[in-house]
């Protein structure tokens, strides 16, 4: 049962990645090509998901939107993972003052409701795809830092670490070759859930008009534009919402599956 769910998640993610990579090949139309004469056409064979209020082909926009969603999700959380693992493993390995400074910093960052902090930074640096990735990355490393720190606190007392130190290995070597590879499991799970969260966050920001800026198609800003045609063009609202839902669901299923696989107690 669990494995099937995880497999479903993986298949959806693979399909999404394929759609994103081959978007220019699959899409019949330019996602930014405006054709007012064909505005708000319902789904048909010509336009699989209909057209939006400016006559742009929604299916093409959705395909290119998947590029943005996946890129932002993976790069942002990748950045968070690098920061989190680096800070968390330094804190866990060295302990003492370094540990308390780093973890206190993480505590403080966690006090800010993520959306408020991200909006504040966007107010300063302005919204763009690049900025959104960096900002989400910089504001979501704390959980991963805590996870890897907890792992390293137990791992660093193991005999093989002592052995390695006796043999003259440097701290850097011990952290990167012994501790991080052995303690990365929970971070991996958190990474997958994090991608789901970052995709939701990007969509939310773009929906507010503070994320990916038009004419670049993001699922969030397609929805924002769909809000204007709420009563007339149901398809402009239905498809991007479904796409976000299914994508986030797929990453969550994969995350759940990974967590169970890494935690033998639940089996």
């Amino acid at each position: 049962m669990k494995n099937k769910l995880m497999l479903t998640g993986v298949i959806i993610i693979i399909l999404l990645i394929l759609a994103a990579v081959f978007a220019p090949k699959i899409a019949k139309y330019d996602p930014t090509y405006i054709n007012i004469k064909e505005a708000l056409l319902p789904p048909s064979e010509e336009h699989l998901m209909g057209t939006d209020m400016l006559g742009r082909d929604l299916f093409s926009r959705m395909l290119f939107g998947s590029r943005i969603a996946l890129t932002i999700g993976i790069v942002a959380v990748g950045l968070a993972a690098v920061i989190g693992v680096a800070l968390g493993s330094i804190a866990g390995y060295f302990g003492g003052k370094i540990d308390s400074v780093i973890m206190r910093f993480a505590d403080i960052m966690l006090c800010f409701p993520a959306f408020f902090l991200i909006l504040a930074v966007i107010a300063v640096v302005g919204p763009s795809i690049f900025n959104i990735m960096i900002i989400i990355g910089l504001t979501s490393w704390m959980g991963m830092a805590r996870l890897i720190r907890a792992e390293i606190l137990t791992l660093k007392t193991r005999d093989y670490v002592l052995c390695s130190r006796v043999l003259g290995a440097s701290n850097f070597f011990i952290i990167t070759k012994h501790l991080i590879p052995n303690g990365i499991g929970p971070v991996l799970v958190s990474f997958v859930f994090g991608v789901a969260g970052a995709i939701l966050m990007e969509a939310g920001l773009s929906f507010l008009g503070l994320g990916v800026q038009p004419p670049d198609p993001s699922w969030g800003n397609i929805l924002m534009e769909g809000k204007a045609v709420l009563g007339v063009g149901w398809w402009v609202i239905l498809f991007p919402g479904l796409a976000i839902l299914i994508t986030v669901l797929a990453f969550n299923l994969l995350g759940e599956g990974l967590r169970d696989a890494l935690n033998p107690r639940i089996k």
Partner: protein
């Protein structure tokens, strides 16, 4: 506690001062009629001519007196603007927490007691969807169905235009009609999360020795579940509630925007658009303080709920 408060102000200040250009640019740069002298005067009024650390120290002294400066948009004190918006945000958040508890605790218990039964399976699917559904999309669907299609619920604001003329009972009715959709949308993620936690928590309690003891001494099943299992299963929920406050507050930005509710979230949104830095800083700090307060309340509640913690100290 104190270092964290200090850290919160430092980060808020740092974020805002990464800004290229000055907040007064909005008034000066865009208006060619403003002379150099006037610009410098304006900078002086806002203290923008001093070095950064002096600005920070000045600012933190003011924060101690709850003085967050004035809004660049309308020159009103930031604290007043936040104070008039905050109660609305708190209202919808407290209502959401209430709804989350009312719904998710029974759902969690029921799924845990009959693990694998149809109800458990359906609620698990619902939980996964609840986690993944974008709140703004759900809001749009509800608006188009209840507001536009059926036309039975209002879709923006928190009160009707003729609110002042209504009597108390009508006022409450009017307010609740406006709050149904926003509170539901804000709660949905929490309901999903807490049902899951509650289920997990009940499942882990079920196998404890004291439950076996309670059953062995012949207590009726109801008593075992509600007096012995539930009480213990609720403990971790208290902690998680404290930790989920930032997520709820974050959610209120989108909910307030979609439903045009004049709360702190909407104020944040408007201020971000206008680069009204003083207001943004004020809200950032207030929201972090609320989170801290929530964690503190959760800690206190935990001490009340769990006698072991009280006796240890």
């Amino acid at each position: 506690m104190i270092p964290i408060l200090f850290g919160i102000t430092l980060i808020s200040f740092a974020v805002i001062h990464m800004a290229p250009g000055k907040p007064t640019d909005l008034v000066t740069q865009l208006n060619p009629k403003v002379s150099m002298e006037a610009r410098e005067k304006l900078n002086k009024i806002h203290g923008l001519d001093k070095p950064l650390y002096v600005q920070y120290l000045d600012w933190i002294k003011k924060i101690g007196r709850l003085d967050f400066g004035k809004s660049f948009a309308d020159s009103r004190p930031v604290i007043d603007k936040i104070a008039e918006r905050l109660p609305i945000t708190l209202l919808i958040n407290v209502l959401s927490i209430f709804i989350i508890f009312i719904v998710s605790i029974p759902v969690g218990i029921k799924s845990a007691l009959r693990k694998g039964a149809p109800f458990d399976k359906i609620s698990t699917v619902a939980v996964f969807i609840g986690f993944a559904i974008p709140s703004f999309w759900l809001a749009l669907l509800l608006i188009s169905f209840f507001g536009v299609h059926l036309g039975i619920l209002p879709v923006s604001g928190i009160v009707s235009l003729d609110f002042e003329k209504l009597n108390l009972l009508q006022k409450i009715f009017d307010l609740s009609r406006h709050l149904i959709l926003p509170v539901f949308v804000l709660s949905i993620g929490g309901i999903a999360g807490f049902s899951r936690y509650m289920r997990q928590s009940m499942l882990s309690v079920e196998h404890q020795d004291y439950i076996r003891t309670a059953r062995a001494k012949g207590l009726p099943e109801k008593e075992v579940i509600y007096r012995h299992a539930l009480k213990n299963a609720l403990l971790p929920i208290i902690t998680i509630l404290g930790l989920s406050i930032p997520a709820l507050l974050s959610g209120s930005v989108i909910v307030e925007k979609v439903f045009s509710i004049p709360g702190m979230g909407l104020l944040m949104f408007e201020s971000v658009f206008m680069r009204d830095y003083n207001v943004i800083m004020g809200i950032l700090i207030v929201s972090a303080f609320l989170t801290l307060l929530g964690n503190l309340l959760a800690d206190i509640a935990y001490v009340y709920a769990d006698p072991r913690i009280r006796y240890e100290k």
